[in-house]
């Protein structure tokens, strides 16, 4: 899991405007080994937007994001190998089975089927490997996508509302998995409306504090 050079992501002076409204301004963030960041703020504050900027998926901003000292766009394919991005959408195809979906979701890392089956088991989908996902409930479909967190060897996880549709047990499991990852030297950036009580070393960043004064 550890990469050769120490992992380092620096964002400096990020500004983003949407529909004539400034979402955040001069936003700075540094993510290094063991960092655990939660972005907070009301609906529409710009959490998803910021997360996508940090993941290198959104280029519509001012300021800069550097990975290992380089502009993100220059080293994007390296960066993509080292971070996992999970958005609002699960990228699960309804007519494929749980295993087939997981296989595609982790294709980049070329993992063995046995590992994938173990991962499915760990998210309580044992026995559902060959069930088409349309027969799974919303929470179970999310779990297929979350099973990646067990097998993909990336140090940085960027998770947008990962607790969506999970029941209490699922939430507890995910929080624990995040703790493990961080204490093993991994990094997590997360948005959630849910308070992460069980996670030590958590840094909560309220996006509203980075928003410029609102003119009435």
């Amino acid at each position: 899991m550890p990469s050769q050079a120490p992992f380092e992501l620096h964002a400096t002076g990020l500004c983003c405007e949407r529909d004539d409204r400034m979402l955040f301004q001069n936003f700075d963030l540094t993510v290094t080994t063991g960092a655990m960041v939660q972005l907070a703020g009301p609906n529409g504050a710009g959490k998803t937007t910021l997360l996508r900027i940090l993941a290198g998926l959104n280029h519509d901003f001012d300021g800069e994001v550097r990975f290992a000292g380089h502009e993100l766009s220059e080293v994007y394919s390296d960066y993509a190998q080292q971070r996992l991005y999970m958005g609002h959408l699960a990228a699960v195809k309804k007519s494929l089975t749980a295993l087939e979906n997981l296989r595609w979701l982790t294709a980049q890392w070329q993992l063995a089927d046995a590992d994938l089956i173990d991962a499915l088991e760990a998210v309580e989908l044992a026995g559902y490997e060959d069930t088409p996902c349309q027969q799974l409930s919303a929470g179970q479909q999310r779990r297929v996508s979350l099973a990646r967190l067990l097998v993909v060897p990336t140090p940085l996880w960027i998770l947008d509302e990962p607790f969506t549709a999970l029941d209490k047990q699922g939430v507890a499991w995910l929080e624990q998995r995040i703790c493990e990852h961080v204490s093993a030297g991994g990094m997590v950036i997360i948005t959630s409306h849910h308070a992460l009580h069980a996670v030590p070393g958590l840094r909560v960043i309220d996006l509203d504090q980075w928003a410029p004064e609102v003119c009435a």
């Binding site: 996508r52 993941a55 290198g56 998926l57 959104n58 280029h59 519509d60 994007y76 394919s77 390296d78 960066y79 993509a80 190998q81 996992l84 991005y85 958005g87 609002h88 959408l89 699960a90 990228a91 699960v92 195809k93 007519s95 494929l96 087939e100 296989r103 595609w104 979701l105 294709a107 980049q108 070329q110 088409p132």
Partner: protein
């Protein structure tokens, strides 16, 4: 690279699970072609004159209609976002998607075309030209169409808009292909036309994936 292969596999698997994806264009192809004798004139002599053109127009429309769904599901369920997040080149994705699209639309149409030829009294000499022109021409349709599909992936009633964008681009393919079939039917050479289609195919393979990739990026970095 492994993601490219995985995507190819997955999309073919999806087509296998939803037979409508490839069966519907085929049925549409058959039905459009069947409407012409009804609307125009069922006399075999007359039909044999227009059959090549009609089959090509039907193939073109069938391809066009099946394009609408090419990227839509992927955008909506987040698959495309994951692709972008993987750092894999979008060029490869665009190529794979066009290839899969051809496998489930153009290829079956090509294989089916002799049956239609029979029904529309295609001259015996023209069968080979028909199949060949479809085999070379439909991939061009898929490639060009994929650009349109990528552009309209985020648009609500994209279907008709897509047609508007893409039909003009299809005109050269249509002209050369129909002329190949026609010339074969009257016993003339048609190498030139097929050669031109081949050149179009080569060009489209090189260039359109760039355009598709750019369009997809635009749709995604919202």
């Amino acid at each position: 690279m492994s993601l490219v292969v995985a995507t190819l596999k997955r999309d073919l698997l999806l087509a296998a699970r939803n037979p409508g994806e490839w069966a519907n264009p085929l049925m549409f192809f058959l039905m459009v072609a069947a409407m012409f004798p009804l609307a125009v004139d069922p006399d075999p002599k007359f039909l044999s004159k227009i059959s090549g053109g009609v089959i090509w127009v039907a193939a073109l429309l069938a391809t066009l209609l099946s394009l609408d769904a090419l990227y839509k599901a992927d955008v909506e369920d987040g698959t495309l976002e994951q692709w972008l997040a993987s750092g894999e080149s979008l060029y490869a994705l665009a190529l794979v998607k066009a290839l899969v699209h051809w496998c489930i639309s153009g290829l079956p149409l090509t294989l089916m075309s002799p049956v239609l030829g029979m029904m529309l009294s295609l001259p015996n000499e023209a069968y080979w030209a028909l199949v060949l022109s479809l085999a070379v021409g439909t991939p061009v349709l898929s490639l060009l169409g994929a650009v349109g599909a990528a552009l309209t992936a985020g648009v609500r009633s994209g279907g008709l808009l897509l047609s508007l964008l893409i039909l003009p681009l299809y005109v050269p393919v249509l002209i050369f292909a129909a002329s190949a079939v026609y010339h074969a039917g009257i016993g003339m050479q048609y190498n030139g036309q097929i050669g031109f289609l081949g050149a179009l195919l080569a060009l489209a393979m090189c260039l359109t994936p760039f355009a598709s990739a750019a369009a997809l990026k635009l749709n995604l970095s919202r």
